[in-house]
């Protein structure tokens, strides 16, 4: 496997940051990811997707956060594919509000937001990256929208701090 260029490193770092919300931890995760990836002698089909998966697994190993989440699994259906990320598309927010509520989001929630907003992933791509059914991904998106609205409401009332 060949090395990643600087732009790719920045994206992987930001992905690590979306998971950890901690710059030092994101950097450490990125370093460990590079070590794992560059051990491979053969190039994966999608090096960046492969690296993101490694980074995510390392983060899970680090926090074991998924064990705390008892999430129902929803099967794929046509409706979820049709709806996609639409629940998030029409939300409006300013930067200060975003910074305030970001701290109250869980890692897998900030991860979904990052993949959607920065990487431009569709719901299907998010589900594939997270290795979950699309129905489950859509359920997360809906819950995330509700949580964001709720946090936003409290933020505007000044009681999120």
């Amino acid at each position: 496997m060949t090395h990643f260029d600087k732009d790719e490193l920045q994206l992987l770092y930001q992905y690590g940051l979306s998971l950890s919300s901690n710059k030092d931890l994101a950097y450490d995760l990125l370093q460990s990811t590079l070590e794992r990836c560059l051990r491979l002698k053969e190039q994966p089909d999608k090096p960046m997707a492969y690296a993101r998966t490694i980074l995510r697994n390392l983060f899970i190993d680090h926090h074991r956060y998924l064990t705390k989440v008892n999430e129902e699994v929803y099967e794929d259906d046509v409706v979820s594919l049709h709806i996609g990320m639409q629940p998030l598309e029409d939300m409006m927010i300013d930067r200060d509000e975003l910074d305030k509520i970001w701290a109250f989001l869980k890692p897998f929630e900030t991860e979904v937001l990052y993949l959607w907003a920065v990487e431009g992933y569709s719901l299907e791509e998010v589900a594939k990256q997270l290795n979950i059914p699309k129905g489950t991904a859509l359920a997360r998106v809906h819950r995330l929208r509700s949580k964001l609205k709720n946090l936003l409401h409290h933020s505007q009332q000044g009681d999120t701090a």
């Binding site: 060949t2 090395h3 990643f4 600087k6 490193l9 920045q10 770092y13 930001q14 940051l17 979306s18 710059k23 950097y27 990125l30 370093q31 590079l34 070590e35 560059l38 051990r39 002698k41 998030l88 598309e89 029409d90 939300m91 409006m92 927010i93 300013d94 930067r95 975003l98 910074d99 970001w102 937001l113 990052y114 959607w116 907003a117 920065v118 964001l148």
Partner: protein
Amino acid sequence: MKDSLKNSIQKKFENELLSNEQLDSLMQAQDKLLHQRDTTTKPVIRYASFFSLAAVVVFSCFLLFNKLEIRKDMPFAIASEVAHNHYKLKPLEVESSVLNEVSQYFTKLDFKPVSSAVIDPQQLTLLGARYCSLQGITAAQIRYQTEDGKLVTFYEVPYDENIYSAFPMISKGEEPVVSYANGVGVKMWVEKGLLMAVTL
């Protein structure tokens, strides 16, 4: 000022970048990792390398042991070579009874053949000389004859202790070493920076 959630998140991450130092460090780390990966040999190659190295060590020890053995028997080896050439009696390339004339013939040597304190010129008649070698080093082979007609072969060659091992030094008052080969006695010593050998 409100913006879409997507744009706000994008802007948030636009500012979250690795520093140039961190980037350079990661680029270097990648190069190092790739180099380590590519230079790590497969187990089969590693074992083959190990056995090759072991074979080289054993062979080197064998050579060293033999070299030491050869060095230990260097007087005999030189005596054998001198005796062999003594019996062959190859034609002389220069014939003269004057040592100075014989010496002038050896223009291709790195030294000038000289007289020796061990050789008594009163009892020997110089016949002539030819190029020869001792242990692969070009030497001067000088032929004498005794009063009773016996031929004496005398060798001179530049002395290198690393090649010939230690021989008695006349200048230190040491006595020449004598070794026998093919029924011929050969006396050997170092004098005037030359290894000298003469048949008895």
